[in-house]
Structures are given as C-alpha cells and as structure tokens.
C-alpha cells in the first residue's frame, strides 16, 4: 500500500470524531459590519491602513495621484511595476516616460521602488489584496524597499468575508486560476529581536498607498 492509501484508509476506518456537530450556519464576520456606504468604507480603510503604519495619500484625481507618485519615485531612473494597464491611472505611462523613469525587468532586486495596483482593498483591516497574473508580477510588491500601491476608491470592499462571498458568487473556478493571492497588511515587519518592532525585514519597509477618487 502507498502511504496515501495507508493514511486515508486509517482515517476512513476510524470512529468519526465530533459526529454530533451542527452543520455550518450563517457566519459572523470577524470585524462586525458597520456602515458600508462608500464614504464610510473609505474612512475605515484609511484609518485601518494608517494604524498598520502605511502612509495613505488621498488624491482627488488621476493627475494629482501621478504627481504624487513621481514625487515618491524621486530621482530613481527605474522602478519595478505592474503593467500599467492594471494600474487605474490613465496618463501614468506617459508621465513616467516624460520623467525619464523606466520600468525594470520583473525580478530585478536592485530597484528601490515598486508600483502596483490592487485587486481589492479591505476596509476592516486596511489590507491590500493583490492577485498574480500576466502583467502583475509578484516581485513588484515584494522586492523593493518601497511599495507604492494605487487604490481606486471604488475598489474598497468591507472585509475579506465580503470579497470571498463575491468570489463564490462569481464561481470559485475564477479564484482558483489566480496562482498567487496575497493580502498585504502594512510594511514587512518583525519583532524577533528583543520584541522590538522593525519594518522592512524581507519585504518593503514602507507601504505608500495612493488612494484615488472620492468614492
């Protein structure tokens, strides 16, 4: 018998533990739902992200957001980036080119800043949800010292529960095609040395969230 068969047959043969459990019923969200109107979601997301030591810069429109991003990139000549069609800022490509900023090959670990969009933002915990895929390299949010994430206000959902419910409604097949899904909640951190919190252990030590639009 293979180990697979040995293990499974042993478990199948065993008296079933917890046989009397009730079936899964309605579940309560980990963070109780409050007002889920756009303005309230936006305010909660900003407060939660800032509590995680993210810097959130709210920009009224794309032009303001692009100016802010150019300021964050500063004098660097290259950045890591998602394909700009996945970043909700029309005109960003032209602006970067105009400022002489090139996009480095995915995986270049020598670059200081990485630019991404997000697939969703979770108001309850201030988390950014990023899925991998063509034009959305994982390295852009992982390798650099600074991660610049562009979030459109309309991408904010109440919490992880809500996002997963939407995935279920759309069919979990779609979710399974996203080879890597990561929720990023603040900059990389550790407290392993004498309980002192230090940012930027392996991932970015700074998370700059550029929030575009009112709602």
């Amino acid at each position: 018998m293979t180990s697979r068969e040995t293990i499974l047959s042993k478990l199948h043969a065993a008296r079933q533990p917890f046989a009397g459990l009730p079936p899964a019923g309605d579940m309560i969200p980990v963070v109780p739902a409050e007002d889920t109107g756009p303005a309230a979601l936006r305010a909660r997301f900003i407060a939660a992200a800032e509590a995680l030591s993210c810097t959130v810069t709210a920009c009224p429109d794309a032009d303001a957001a692009i100016r802010h991003i150019l300021g964050l990139v500063g004098t660097d000549s290259t950045i890591l980036s998602w394909d700009l069609k996945h970043v909700p800022l029309p005109g960003l490509g032209a602006a970067l080119a105009g400022a002489g900023i090139a996009i480095a090959a995915a995986g270049d670990a020598s670059v200081r800043a990485g630019l991404t969009g997000v697939d969703a933002a979770l108001a309850a915990t201030g988390s950014l949800l990023l899925a991998s895929g063509p034009g959305k390299p994982r390295g852009a949010s992982l390798l650099p010292e600074v991660h610049i994430a562009v979030v459109a206000a309309g991408q904010i959902v109440p919490d992880l529960e809500t996002w997963l419910a939407a995935q279920r409604a759309a069919g979990l097949e779609h979710l399974r095609q996203l080879n890597s899904v990561v929720m990023i909640s603040g900059p990389s951190r550790t407290a392993d040395i004498a309980m002192e919190t230090v940012m930027g252990v392996h991932g970015p030590g700074a998370l700059q969230i550029v929030l575009v639009g009112e709602s």
Partner: protein
Amino acid sequence: MDVKARDFIPAAQVALSDPALRAAVKRATDTAAKKRLATMFWAGRAHGEALRQQAAQARRRALRDLPALLEQAEAAMTANGIQVLWAADGDEVRRLVLDIAARHEVRRAVKSKSMISEEVALNHALQAHDIDVLETDLGEFIVQLSGETPSHIVTPVIHKSKETIRDLFVRELDMPPTDDAEAMTQFARGHLRRAFLEADMGISGGNFIIAETGALCLVTNEGNGRMVTSLPRVHVALVGIEKVIATVEDYATLTQILPRSSTGQTMTVYTQMIHGPRAADEDGPEHVYVILVDNGRSDIYPTDYAEALACIRCGACLNACPVYEATGGHAYGWVYSGPIGAVITPLLTGLENASPLPHASSLCGLCKEVCPVDIDLPRMLLDLRRDLDEAGHTPPVWKWGIRGWAMVARSPRLFGLAARAAGLGGRFLPPRPPLPPPLNGWTRTRDLPEFAPKSFRQLWAERQKAGKRDD
C-alpha cells in the same frame, strides 16, 4: 529532532535559575497576551466569544470530515497544477524532499518557518546531501546560526537577548558591532536577500489548505514566506494532514483569528493563498509540491485526543501558561512547548518519551480559555496523566503522595486533624523548614504558606455553638 521531554524537570530547574531568561520570556508572553485580549475582544466579549466558537466549529467540522476533505483537497490541488505527495513519517518526508531536490538539481534551499520540518529534522537530511539550507524567518535564522532549537512556535528566539544576538551576528557573519535592533535586522536582510535570489528551492509549511479550492494558505510578517514561495524555481510545502479546512468562509474566520490570538495583530502582514505554480506569462515558481504529512497524526485521530488536531499553532496557550512563563520552551524537550506541547509531544512521540509533560501544568484552565478554537487542554492533560498512570509511568512517590492526600481528604476527622496540624506547624516551623526528601522539593524554593490560627471548620463549630445563624 531528538525528543528530550523526559528531562523536563532538570531542564526546567536550569531555566528557573536563569533570571535573564525568565525576564525575557515573561516580558514577551505578557505583551503577546495583552495584545491578544485587545484584538480578540475589541468589539466586546460576546463578539469575541462567538468568533472563537465559530472557529472552533470550523476546525472540528474539518476534523470530522478529514478523510473526505483530504481527498477533495488533493483533487483540487492537482487540478490547479500542484503536485501532491503523502508522507507517513519523518523518513518519508526527508526522502520525498531529497527526491524533489535531486529531480530539479537543487543545490541551495531557503526555508520559511515550518514546525513539521523541525519534527522530522529536515535541515540535517538536506545538509547531509550537500544541499545548503537557510532558515529565513529572522528568529529561525538566529536559531539556526546558534545551533539551537526554537523555544516558541511563533517567536522562536523569545529566550535570547539583543546582546546575545549581536554577538552571534558579529561572530558568525562579521556584522559590524551594533546594539540597534533595526541595524541588526537590516544586516540580516542583506545576508538573506542574496540567499533568496540564489536559491533553487523554497521550503515552507502551511497554515491551512482549503479543500474546495485547493489553496495552500500561509501567513508571514516578514515577507520571507512570499520570497520562499515566489523566487526559487521549486516550492515545496510540508503540511500536516490535519491542516485541511472545508470552505473559503471557514478560511476567512480562521486566517483572521490566527494573528489576533497569536501576536495580537488584526491581520498577518502577508496572508497568502497559493493555488498553483506560475503560468507561462507570470513570475513565480515553476513547480509547486505539497507534501501531506502524517507523522503520528492518524494515530491521534481515532482517540479521545482528536481535539488536539484542531490546533492552529497560534501560541496563545504558551503565552498564557504560568509554567511556560517560568521555564520557557526549551525545557519541554521537543518541537512544541507550552500546554499544546505537553499534550501533543506525548501523543506524537510516545507517552514513555514525554512522561513529565502532562504534569507540567497547574490545570488553571487559562490555556483553554485563550485557545481560539477552544481546545480543552486541561481535560487532555488530566486524561494523559491517567494514561501515564495506567501504563506505569507515574513515579511511586507521586502516587503515595496522592493516595495519602486522598485518604485525608475523604475522612472529615483526618482532614480536621491535618488542618489543625498545619495551623500549628505554621506557627512553630521556619518559613523554609529543613524537611526530608521528597518534601524538600517543595520547600527548597518556596516559603510555607501562612495558615490562619484557626481553621474554617474550627471557626464554624464555634459559631454554631454560640448560636449564631448565617444570614
């Protein structure tokens, strides 16, 4: 990892005489416990309790349906392009990982934290086959550099001072001396970054596998989990068979209650769901393997200890335990420490190899109270004591002591005499009387408690005689 749990008592005595260790462990566990309370119950006691029960039921339903969920998870992962392997024991885990390494010509491996890899001593096996393997969780990296073992399942170097770590980095890595934790961390970042970029294989554990989607779920704060699962060509995850859960809804509860119970964070910084290897037009590993590891778990499954398999390894019971706080993790002598270690070490390694551990508890009950999945650890510690006794592993002197106490407690007359003797003794004996062994095991390090001059029974009798009534 060799099991040294039989030496708990001498090892605990060494730990107890190390004030620096005790202070470090106390500070760390107190901080974590305080943060846990703040994030678990920020929306009120009732909400936090309801959440615990929701998580507890999710884990128990998963265990109830374990064989079916494992088959479902295997099918889903395979359909996603993950190669699923099964390992009955440590030998098989090591052989499978070495086979994978040979197939992909792996010379260098990087690891994020995996407690199972500690169970099966994977690093030694890889090194014996000339494969460099580097731990990348900062705490585990420090553990590996110093040739030690983790002393806490979440914060492995809870027992080490900043100065010790500084000296270690200076000695082993030529770090320019500094006392700044941030500078030390940045130095380690540079060292480990090179290793990430050069590695051929990443090895991780797994916090959950979602059966219906075949997702391998991981949490890390430092980002090393993402590095290990993104940069090398090959990713191998070692996951205990008990880690499977049913649905994405269960995942939402469990992956959020885990950091709240563990470090008091609302979310771990990087919370990952991995569904498969890279597609042709994206970055990521070309091959993903998940090794489902039994290593004793299926022996626990049919027993009254099945509940122990619900554990999500948050460490809350360690942080709450007065015994863990006094001894730290190393005294427990194997991979897992604290109350959950005192239960699963005997179950996974054999009662006879860990006989002192079920006694390493005051049965205060705090471990159950803080457990995010409500595991009845005190009940299992008691049951294990019974099993130990039935198997003849209770030291005779303990048995005599317990029998003597039972005899006194059952007889009102003897109990009254004993109480009076204790009151008299308290008046005439010094606080630390020179009692003969084995009684000096108590008095060597503790003052005798002060007894009231009159016992409750005496006071009650006098009160009755005086004709007073309790109103």
